[in-house]
């Protein structure tokens, strides 16, 4: 089975881990949000791509979900000692990725080529594609600070500002990275990972030509909200601040007219009828992925649901 998954960072990576381990024969391509990417300390940092790649490479930190396993922090400690910015935590191993990527980007290589090279050297079997080789920057419009770059909102200000809206700077000049449209067209189904709809999935979907090609496919989304709360991150807080009751139903509404099915948690079973009324097939299972087994079980469930809806 050929699957294309749309993913952001930590939440997406959990399901990607599960899907990759659920089946030895799965042909999986991950199209990753790059709206979180930013320039910092002279380096181009791509948090979501790195999280997905490290996860598939077996190099990810299982405790944080981001960064490298067995990481050391000598660089950032010394950076702080000489007055440098330490609000974005960069581990010593992780730094190699940023330095080498930045060097190659400055030499004119594309992000997709660089990611491919890294993944080959890390023995990643599955294909990881940035949504675009052109820069797209998620800008968060906040009540308190006006427009601020995504990482300022997400890391520096710890998601505390009140959301008014989002925009994706550069998106009108961004093309899908090579392979993105082809992989969507060839896929048996598309999986929207339990990532943040506003800032992880919307940037991908809104790249020119991606949405029209998705509309030809069978799509299943996994809710990032359980019991009205985000499993991780600010998705539920964002819905509330935008005047929408946060729930798995809000996620279904978000992707209405795009998805054929949604996977929600067992505790949200009461929402299934509302989803059916939207014309979306709801599946329920345990979607809170705490252990590797949780991830693999959800991966297997998702593959089974796909099997049912594409028949």
């Amino acid at each position: 089975m050929k699957i294309v998954a749309l993913a952001g960072g930590v939440g997406g990576a959990k399901l990607i881990f599960g899907l990759a381990r659920a089946s030895d024969t799965l042909d999986l391509t991950v199209i990753v949000n790059t709206g979180d990417d930013f320039d910092h300390l002279g380096m181009r940092i791509c948090p979501d791509i790195d999280t997905i790649c490290y996860t598939l490479a077996g190099l990810a930190n299982p405790d944080t979900g981001w960064g490298r396993v067995d990481e050391s922090w000598n660089f950032i400690t010394e950076l702080k000692a000489i007055g440098g910015e330490d609000w974005f935590r960069l581990g010593d191993k992780d730094l190699a990725t940023h330095v080498e990527r930045t060097k190659r980007l400055n030499e004119g290589q594309t992000l997709s080529k660089i990611i491919k090279d890294f993944c080959d050297l890390w023995n990643v079997k599955h294909l990881v594609l940035p949504m675009s080789d052109q820069e797209v920057a998620t800008i968060v419009s906040t009540l308190e600070y006006g427009e601020i770059p995504f990482q300022d909102y997400f890391v520096k200000k710890k998601c505390e500002p009140t959301i008014k809206s989002f925009r994706f700077a550069g998106i009108n000049n961004a093309d899908p990275a090579p392979g993105v449209i082809d992989s969507i067209e060839q896929a048996d189904a598309i999986v929207i990972c339990p990532s943040n709809p506003w800032v992880s999935i919307d940037p991908i979907i809104n790249i020119a030509n991606i949405l029209p090609s998705l509309r030809q496919k069978t799509i299943i989304a996994i809710s990032p909200i359980v019991g009205g709360k985000s499993i991780k991150g600010p998705a539920a807080k964002m819905y509330s601040e935008l005047g929408i009751q946060p729930s798995a139903f809000a996620i279904a509404k978000h992707y209405q007219n795009l998805i054929k099915a949604i996977v929600i948690d067992d505790q949200d079973i009461s929402l299934k009828k509302d989803m059916t009324n939207l014309g979306i097939i709801p599946f329920n299972t345990n979607i809170v992925m705490k252990t590797p087994e949780d991830k693999i079980n959800l991966g297997k469930d998702v593959l089974n649901y796909i099997d049912r809806i594409i028949r």
Copy 2:
């Protein structure tokens, strides 16, 4: 006593350590070669300045003489794993210096200001000045490869190519860094550290206005060559390849008409007469600095010799 020392990297740093520890009341300014500086992996790297600063800050690796004590190497290991250049060994702690310096240089700060800020945060009591805030690049003309950048010769090719000559690209447009001329003018004496005359001291001396101001002062040099061999590095090999017999006498000749005195090793005592004939006062002591005590003893000796020659 006010002393200005001209220094390169590892050899110079040994004496700088000794001078700084030899006297609590010494007013020491170190003017450091920047001809070895280079751009690597998007970072501006200043090996000699960092070695001197780390030494004065108590952060230097006592085994190698360069880099940081208690260093970790996770960055460079991971860089190699993704196909990056690992010929120049960058430690995790050391990297913070390069990243923060490069960021500040790109913001328009001067190298001398950046070094001052770092040294203040590292509690360095003495003043460390780059020879210039403008870039000067030592270029090595070799028999085998033609002209190559200094670090290509020194680190990548391990000093193996045969030397034909040196030049210092950019030196005609380089001014002494703020404080360099003032500190020389106010000094009671100038110390030329046991650094490489060709590639560590000559770049400093050949900056516009530095040589004329040095000519007004009492200068003492410490030989980097003992028994016809370099204590460390390629100085003796360079003299041989340039057709000059390597010896402490060659060092005295190198600095003839500039220095008043030279400090040579006890085992070179037979060369003293030749030096006297050049009009240079020779002092002999143990100049091979293996232990911290060796460095402090030589520091004390040098201060005593200065006391004698400036009376």
